[in-house]
C-alpha cells in the first residue's frame, strides 16, 4: 500500500545553510511574511488593546468608565447572583452545540458534494456554480428569507406540511426551544457548506491521479482509497478549513440574530450574540469587550493544537 508520494517527501534540500539562529532562509522568509504580519498587527493591535482596556472597566458607551480590574471577569465567571453569569454559561453550552453541529454538518455535506463534483459529470460547471450560490447571497438577506420560510403562520415549510396534511398545527421552528437550535443550524449549514465544498474540491484536484490508478491496480476498494489516499492528502486543507470555519461560524451572528435573536429563552444565544445584546446594545462596553476575550485563550489553544502538525517543517 505504500505507493508513491510518501518517499520523495523526505529528500533533504541540497541548498547550503545560511544564518543558523535566524533560520536558513531568513532574508527571504521575512521579506515575504513581515509585510503581511505587520499590516495585520498594525490594524488589529490598537483595537484589541482597546478592547482589553474596556474589559477592565465598568464603562458605559459615551461616558467615563471606572476601573474595576478583573471585576467584569469575576462577575461573569463566578458571581452566581448576577444574571450575566447564568447567561454566560448558557452561552458556552449553546456555542459548543452550535459550532460543533455546524462543523459536522458542513464537513459531511461539503465532502460529499466535493467528491461528487470532482467526478466527470455533465454540466459540471453549472452544478458547481449552483452549489456556490448560498455563499454568494449576502447573509443579511438570506437570513430574512429563512426567517420567512420558517414562519409559523405563513411560512412555506408549514404551509407545505399542512397543505399535504402531514401535520395539523404549524411547527414552531423558531419558537420551540428544542427545535430552535436545529432550525438555525440548518440555515447556517446551508449558507456555509459551499465554502467547504469548494475548498475540498480544489484540494481534490491537486491529488495526482496516478495514486488512484495504482490503488485500483492493487485492488483497493472505493472506501479504502478514500481513506488511504484522499484523506491523507487533504489533511492540511481539512485542518485549515476546520479552523477558519470554526472561527467564522462562531463569530458570525447574522443568522441567529435575525432568526431567533438568541431566544427562545436563550436556547440559541451564543457568546458573541450575548456580548452584543447584553453589552453593546445595552451600552455596557465593559461586558461587550469581556465576553469575547474570555474565549480567546480557549480558541488560541484550539488553534495551536490544530496547526501543530501542519506547521512542522518537512525536513
Amino acid at each position: 500500500m505504500a505507493t508513491l508520494g510518501t518517499t520523495a517527501r523526505r529528500m533533504p534540500l541540497a541548498v547550503p545553510a545560511g544564518g543558523p539562529r535566524l533560520g536558513r532562509d531568513w532574508r527571504l522568509g521575512y521579506a515575504l511574511t513581515l509585510p503581511v504580519v505587520l499590516v495585520i498587527v498594525g490594524l488589529i493591535a490598537f483595537p484589541l488593546g482597546y478592547s482589553v482596556w474596556l474589559s477592565l472597566q465598568d464603562i458605559k458607551l459615551g461616558g467615563q468608565g471606572t476601573f474595576v480590574g478583573a471585576g467584569n471577569y469575576s462577575k461573569i465567571l463566578l458571581d452566581s447572583t448576577s444574571r450575566i453569569h447564568d447567561q454566560f454559561w448558557n452561552s458556552v453550552y449553546v456555542t459548543a452545540v452550535y459550532v460543533g453541529g455546524a462543523l459536522c454538518g458542513k464537513f459531511i455535506l461539503g465532502m460529499t458534494t466535493a467528491l461528487i463534483l470532482h467526478a466527470q459529470i455533465k454540466a459540471r460547471n453549472l452544478w458547481r456554480a449552483l452549489l456556490f450560490l448560498p455563499w454568494s447571497i449576502p447573509a443579511i438577506v438570506s437570513s430574512y428569507s429563512w426567517k420567512w420560510i420558517y414562519n409559523d403562520v405563513n411560512g412555506i415549510f408549514n404551509n407545505l406540511l399542512m397543505g399535504y396534511g402531514l401535520i395539523e398545527r404549524p411547527i414552531l421552528f423558531l419558537a420551540d426551544p428544542t427545535l430552535a437550535v436545529w432550525s438555525v443550524l440548518l440555515a447556517v449549514i446551508w449558507q456555509g457548506t459551499p465554502f467547504w465544498t469548494m475548498t475540498f474540491l480544489a484540494g481534490l484536484q491537486a491529488i495526482p491521479h496516478e495514486l488512484y490508478e495504482a490503488a485500483e491496480i492493487d485492488g483497493a476498494s472505493t472506501a479504502k482509497s478514500f481513506w488511504h489516499i484522499t484523506l491523507p492528502n487533504l489533511t492540511s486543507v481539512i485542518l485549515v478549513t476546520v479552523m477558519l470555519s470554526a472561527i467564522f461560524t462562531t463569530n458570525s451572528i447574522q443568522y441567529i440574530y435575525i432568526l431567533t435573536n438568541g431566544g427562545p429563552g436563550g436556547a440559541t444565544e451564543t457568546f458573541p450574540l450575548l456580548a452584543i445584546s447584553q453589552g453593546l446594545r445595552a451600552y455596557d462596553l465593559g461586558i461587550a469587550a469581556a465576553i469575547p476575550l474570555l474565549f480567546f485563550p480557549m480558541f488560541a489553544l484550539f488553534i495551536y493544537v490544530l496547526t501543530k502538525r501542519m506547521l512542522r517543517t518537512e525536513s
Binding site: 513581515l34 509585510p35 409559523d152 419558537a175 431566544g263
Partner: protein
C-alpha cells in the same frame, strides 16, 4: 536560470506589490494613508502584470472619489443624523426645513438619513465613542437622559424655553422625558402613540364591541381565535415591543415601573405585577388567544401578523396602519384605533416621546442651535405634524391636538383618550439611567421568556426580574 533573472523576478514581485498598493493609495487623492510596509526593491521596469491586475488597480484610481473626510472648518457644516422612519416624509420634510433655514442663515448642512435597524445605532455609537458625533441626532425615550448622563449632550434650555409657553405648552410626558432638574436636554420632536390596531370588521361581524375590561377581552378572544387567526398580538420576545406591551397592561392592573423619586417601584411578590404575568400566562397557555410563535417575535413580527390577517388586535405605533393604507386599503378601512381595555386601575394610553439632542462634540457650532429653534416654530411645526404627516405623530404642543385632523376624523376618536391619559414607560418619573439599562437589556423580555418558554412560575419569574432590576437600579451611575 541565471541569477540575473532571479533578481528581476524578485524585484518584479516587489514592484507589482508596490504598484498595487500605490494605486489604491493614489485612488484616494493622497491624504495620510498608511502605506503598508513593502520591500521596495530597485525600480525595475514592470513586466505585463497578470490579467486581473490592470482592471483592479486602475479602476480604483479612476473613479473612487476621495470622499469629504469630514475635516471641519471653523464652525463647519452642521451634521444631522436621523434614522429613516417607515414614512419617509418624516425625515424628508425635516431635511427641507433644515436646508432652507441653513441656506437663509448662511451655513452649510449635512443631513443624513440612516437606514433603520440596530446597525445604524452601532454606527452612531461608534461615532460618539470616537468623539465625532453629529451635531443633531434623533433620540428615543430613554436615550434623551442617557446621553445627558454620559455628558455627551448640551443643555438646550435657552432654545426650548421660549416655546414652552406657546400653543398651549408641552404635554406632561414631553416635559418628563426631556427635562432634568428644570433644564431641557432634548428639543421635543414628537409624541409617538401606541394605539391598539383593531379589526373592527371582525368585531362587527360577531356583534361585539371593543372589550371594556380584561374579562371581556378574554371572552372575545376565545370566541374569535381560530388558528391561524389569533386574537391578541402580544409580543413576548426579547425585544422593544415586549417592554411596551407589558408595561401598558401593567398600568391597567395598578402597577408601575418607577416611583416618583425614580426608584424601582416593584418588589418580589408585588400583586399587580404577578396579576399581570398571570393574566398573560393564562392567555398564552390556556385561552390560547396569543399566537404561540410570539415568544420569538422581534419588533416587525406583530406588524407582519396583523398585516397577514392573523391577528384581531395588537398594540403598535401606526406603522401597521400606514402599511395597510398603501398595500391593503380595505383592511385599513376595517381597522380602528383603541386604547387599552380597562383593568381595576383604569385604562391608560401609552406614548413615548421623541426628541432632538444637541451633541457637545459636534463641530457645527451655532448653526445647530438655529436649526433646532427653527424646528420648534409653532407655525412650521403645526403644519409639519398635522398637515404633512397626517397622524403619524401627536404634536408636542397641547393646542395642536384640536386640529381638524384629530377631532373630525373617525379614525382618531379614541386617540384623544390615549393622549389625555398618556403615560411613558418610565411612569411615575422621568426615564433616567436605570431605565435605559433595563429596557436595552430586555429584562422584561427575559421575564416573559422565563414564564412562557421555561415554564417558570410567575412569582419566581418576578423574583428573578426584581433581583436583576435591583442590581441595575443600585448602580450609582444609574441614579443620575
Amino acid at each position: 536560470m541565471a541569477s540575473g533573472q532571479q533578481f528581476s523576478r524578485r524585484s518584479f514581485l516587489g514592484v507589482l506589490a508596490s504598484t498595487a498598493t500605490a494605486t489604491v493609495v493614489a485612488a484616494c487623492g493622497g491624504g495620510q494613508a498608511p502605506a503598508p510596509a513593502k520591500p521596495p526593491e530597485a525600480a525595475k521596469p514592470t513586466e505585463a502584470p497578470k490579467p486581473a491586475a490592470p482592471v483592479a488597480t486602475t479602476a480604483p484610481a479612476a473613479a473612487a472619489t476621495p470622499a469629504t473626510a469630514a475635516k471641519p472648518a471653523a464652525g463647519g457644516p452642521v451634521v444631522a443624523w436621523f434614522g429613516l422612519d417607515y414614512i419617509p416624509q418624516v425625515t424628508q420634510f425635516m431635511n427641507e426645513r433644515f436646508t432652507a433655514v441653513s441656506k437663509e442663515k448662511g451655513f452649510s448642512l449635512t443631513f443624513e438619513e440612516l437606514p433603520s435597524g440596530p446597525a445604524s445605532t452601532d454606527k452612531f455609537n461608534a461615532a460618539v465613542q470616537a468623539g465625532t458625533p453629529p451635531d443633531i441626532y434623533g433620540v428615543f425615550d430613554y436615550q434623551t437622559q442617557y446621553w445627558r448622563i454620559q455628558g455627551q449632550t448640551v443643555d438646550v434650555t435657552d432654545i426650548v424655553k421660549p416655546f414652552a409657553t406657546q400653543a398651549g405648552g408641552f404635554w406632561q410626558p414631553v416635559e418628563l422625558t426631556c427635562k432634568f432638574q428644570d433644564k431641557w436636554y432634548g428639543v421635543p420632536r414628537a409624541v409617538n402613540c401606541w394605539p391598539f390596531h383593531v379589526r373592527q370588521d371582525l368585531l362587527d361581524q360577531n356583534g361585539l364591541k371593543y372589550p371594556k375590561d380584561w374579562n371581556e377581552f378574554r371572552e372575545q378572544g376565545k370566541k374569535l381565535s381560530k388558528p391561524p387567526l389569533y386574537h391578541y398580538g402580544m409580543t413576548l420576545g426579547r425585544t422593544n415591543d415586549t417592554n411596551n406591551h407589558f408595561i401598558g397592561m401593567l398600568w391597567t392592573l395598578g402597577g408601575k415601573l418607577q416611583n416618583e423619586d425614580g426608584s424601582l417601584a416593584v418588589k418580589a411578590g408585588d400583586e399587580a405585577w404577578i396579576k399581570t404575568i398571570d393574566l398573560l400566562a393564562t392567555m398564552f397557555n390556556e385561552d390560547k388567544i396569543i399566537p404561540p410563535g410570539s415568544v420569538s417575535w422581534g419588533d416587525p413580527d406583530n406588524n407582519n401578523a396583523y398585516q397577514s390577517e392573523q391577528l384581531v388586535l395588537t398594540s403598535n405605533p401606526t406603522s401597521i396602519y400606514n402599511w395597510l393604507q398603501q398595500n391593503k386599503p380595505e383592511l385599513a378601512k376595517a381597522t380602528k384605533f383603541y386604547s387599552y381595555p380597562a383593568g381595576p386601575a383604569g385604562s391608560f394610553g401609552q406614548v413615548d416621546v421623541w426628541a432632538l439632542a444637541l451633541f457637545k462634540n459636534g463641530k457645527g457650532g451655532e448653526g445647530a442651535r438655529v436649526l433646532l429653534s427653527s424646528f420648534l416654530d409653532p407655525t412650521w411645526y403645526g403644519d409639519y405634524i398635522n398637515k404633512k404627516l397626517q397622524g403619524r405623530f401627536v404634536p408636542v404642543y397641547k393646542d395642536m391636538i384640536k386640529d381638524d385632523l384629530w377631532t373630525k376624523n373617525d379614525l382618531y376618536t379614541e386617540y384623544q383618550k390615549i393622549i389625555e391619559t398618556g403615560r411613558i414607560m418610565s411612569y411615575g418619573s422621568a426615564p433616567l439611567g436605570a431605565i435605559s439599562e433595563l429596557t436595552t437589556k430586555f429584562v422584561i423580555g427575559d421575564m416573559m421568556q422565563d414564564v412562557m418558554v421555561k415554564k417558570v412560575k410567575p412569582a419566581d419569574a418576578l423574583a428573578a426580574f426584581v433581583k436583576t432590576a435591583e442590581e441595575i437600579y443600585n448602580k450609582p451611575e444609574n441614579r443620575r
